[in-house]
Amino acid sequence: MNLLDVEDLVTELASDRRWMRAVNGVSLSVRRGETFCLVGESGSGKSVTALSVMGLLPAGKHRHPSGVVRLYSHGDEAIAGRSAALDLLHADEPTMRAVRGGRIGMIFQEPMTSLNPVLTIGEQLDESLSLHYPEMSDQQRSERILAALEEVRIPDPAKRINEFPHRLSGGQRQRVMIAMALICEPELLIADEPTTALDVTVQAEILKLIRELQSRRGMGLLFITHDFGVVAQIADTVGVMSRGELVEVGRVEDVLGRPRHDYTRNLIAALPERLPRPVRPPKVTTTPLIELRDLKVHFPVRQGLMRRVVDSFKAVDGVSLSVGAGEVLALVGESGCGKTTLARALLRLIEPTAGSILLEGQDITHLGRSGMRPYRRRMQVVFQDPGSSLNPRLPILSTLREPMRVHGIGRDDDARRHRAAALLERVEMPTDSLWRYPHEFSGGQRQRLAIARALVLEPRFIMCDEITSALDVSVQAGILRLLRRLVDEEGLGMLFITHNMGVVEYLADRMAVMQAGRLVESGRTEEVLRAPQEEYTRTLLAAVPRLVAGAPIPRQGSGASAHP
């Protein structure tokens, strides 16, 4: 009952007048009703595999030296055997157009950009429907669209049909994307990291929805992800990809429970919740390094001709917390809960509306630009996006030396250069990085350099805003170990903003949960994780896809048992 067969697929992409092998001899097959998870780190070729199957790689920029991709239709095997299968790699463009959207549906990663902002939801759903079913009447089509939106549980679908994508939340947009992929009832659904950009609670709902739809329709599902937690929740069969090759394929319990290949083993061991924790002596409560008292950041909402302030958006609404020396406080919450605004207000990058910020006992809430300067040295920040965290026009040496110069650290430029070189060694980067530019480094390396930039001023407190969320797990593991070492060895205080519970578990001494601008719960990490007191914390924790060591993986839905 194979639906899709990929045999020895090789995909080469044109890059700088050379051919780079992105996929190297991948063979896999997806059966009806089966979920095949392709998991791997960035650059492992998992998306290119999916795009090769769909024939969506840019024309003239790719080639397939070898490989066969066959898509079988209903009953092919019984009637005509293998010969009736459609060869997707060599099919012509009109055939492929009929296949895409018709027999194979696809969901992309970024719900914010995969819908056309100038067309209504209804129009976009209608487009692929009228293309693949030209014989349907307007009436039939609109009924079908309504049914599709109902199926993905969009509230009030009759009204939503005429709305534009910007009116929908990220989760709802992803639901619309799923409706669009499924509206022509494809036999195979390819989902390329469909939940990566979503919050955990939304992710849990979308995964449940995909699972349900799949078992109801008996589709094959090729699911691409980098998250082992998601794999454990949704997969029947797992393929682990590394450098264009499928290094391990097997049933999900086998691959996750008893990985055979070294690469898989290392990947699973690098998951933050699996990292070995150093024994930490219980902290003696010291005076707090940084303290927030009832901090509020409100953004005015202006309306009308005179731009009168009619209301205010309470991004941070009365938050009190403190971080001591040698302590990591993790701030957890979903997107839009105000954690990044809190971070920026704490660093005095945006003005707080009310409340006070105390750094080592001194009130810095109302200091001016020059008044802040000596305090800037003591609190530093590392941001989320490795792509924009370093000035692309300056070599690393200039980036590291300028703050030292401004704050009078180091005798002269020579001494500063030696200090910068020493710092690079601390963050485990080669010293010749000093004369390189940011674009020459990978994401993980750039985050290390950003950490070095933060450390250059010998701060007492470092704020880390989701600094590992754009990184692969193995790279993340290295950075987390580095951060923990810095905190333990130097007694830094750290506020670590994240949405990844595994990271919290590994890194944080205490954690605080934030929702809609307020702290709903805080306490020691183990206690909060083991026995959450608040309903919201419980929902959040339950939604986190986890991979529990040794325990049988929880199965849900009937998809797994549907096929022989």
Partner: protein, 399 residues
Amino acid sequence: MNDAEIAVDREKRSRPWGRQVLAALLKSTGARIGLAWVGVLVLVATFAPFIASSHPLLLVVDGQTSSPVMAYLTPVDWIWLIGFVAVLLFFMLPGRLWLRMLALLMTLGVTTVLAYTLVSPPALIIYEEYRELEQAGAVERVLRAPIPFSAKDYLRDMGDTGVEAPLQAEDRRHWLGTEDNGADVAARMIHASRIALAIGFIATGIALSIGTIIGGLMGYFSGVVDIIGMRLVEIFEAIPTLFLLLTFVAFFGRSIYMMMIIIGITSWSAYARYVRAEFLKLREQDFVQAAVACGLPLPSILFRHMLPNGLAPLLVAASFGVASAILAEATLSFLGLGLVDDPSWGQMLNQAVQSSTFNWWLAVFPGGAIFLTVFSYNLIGEALRDAVDPHTRRTEGTS
């Protein structure tokens, strides 16, 4: 890390961004053609008095050697010559960019002051002096410029000269013909190249400075500064440059400097918009926020961390701006509102139209020069856009 290791490390240094852009720029054929033409123009403009002059370069009379050209060099000639050497040194000498820039500007300033106080060429210029001397047979040896006519030499000694097609006269050689008053077209075009270059660079320089400062402040501070700045931009965008120029010419007479300033102060608004948009985007970038969090001073944040990252669209717009400033001057001169006696390409085109007969050489050569120059700047702008755009440029190294 000791010094020996640092010396090794130097080998591994990456090329600075500016060099990378330059290398990418020079890879494009269009940019090479454009830069070559502009380079020729710069050479011609700098050495104009030595290329086209009625005064001999060297003259031996009664055993005494003299150089009439040098005696007749005006302050402007001197500024061009010394400025040319200064710019060459600016590119050749090592050292920090801003130091060299400062030295260049100071050299130019000092040269200007000195040139106008020290240089005093004869007030009365008799172009035919040396030709008559030569005909009288008093000259032992003479070395003339390749084009032995000055821009304003109307050949009074040659009788009733007027419009002549190229290479028509038997006793004189006018490669590109003569214009209405009998002056050599080639000589006038060579001297006019100065105006074309200067107006392009100075007017755009003025516009760029004003635009960058106002746009930068609007983008970084936003809020009230932004609102006021944008209204200012709108006011200046509502003024048509050409009509303002006409008005000013009517009030203050015709001056090339006036034109540069007016073209400059009416065309900064586009640059301000570009810089503002870039700064609004950059302000939210993590590395700028990190620079603020490091407590770096405002000028460093604005000019070291933000401006170089927002420079790309500005450079491209500026290279098109140079072209349009040249066109603006040509338009004015063509309309007969430009300079009176001093040669300019636009003014020569004007003469082509005003004659009763169509004198093709008066239209083709200056028109061709305007076209080539504007086209060159556009080619450079085009290539620059590709060179600075990370999407079209391949990154080198290990990215």
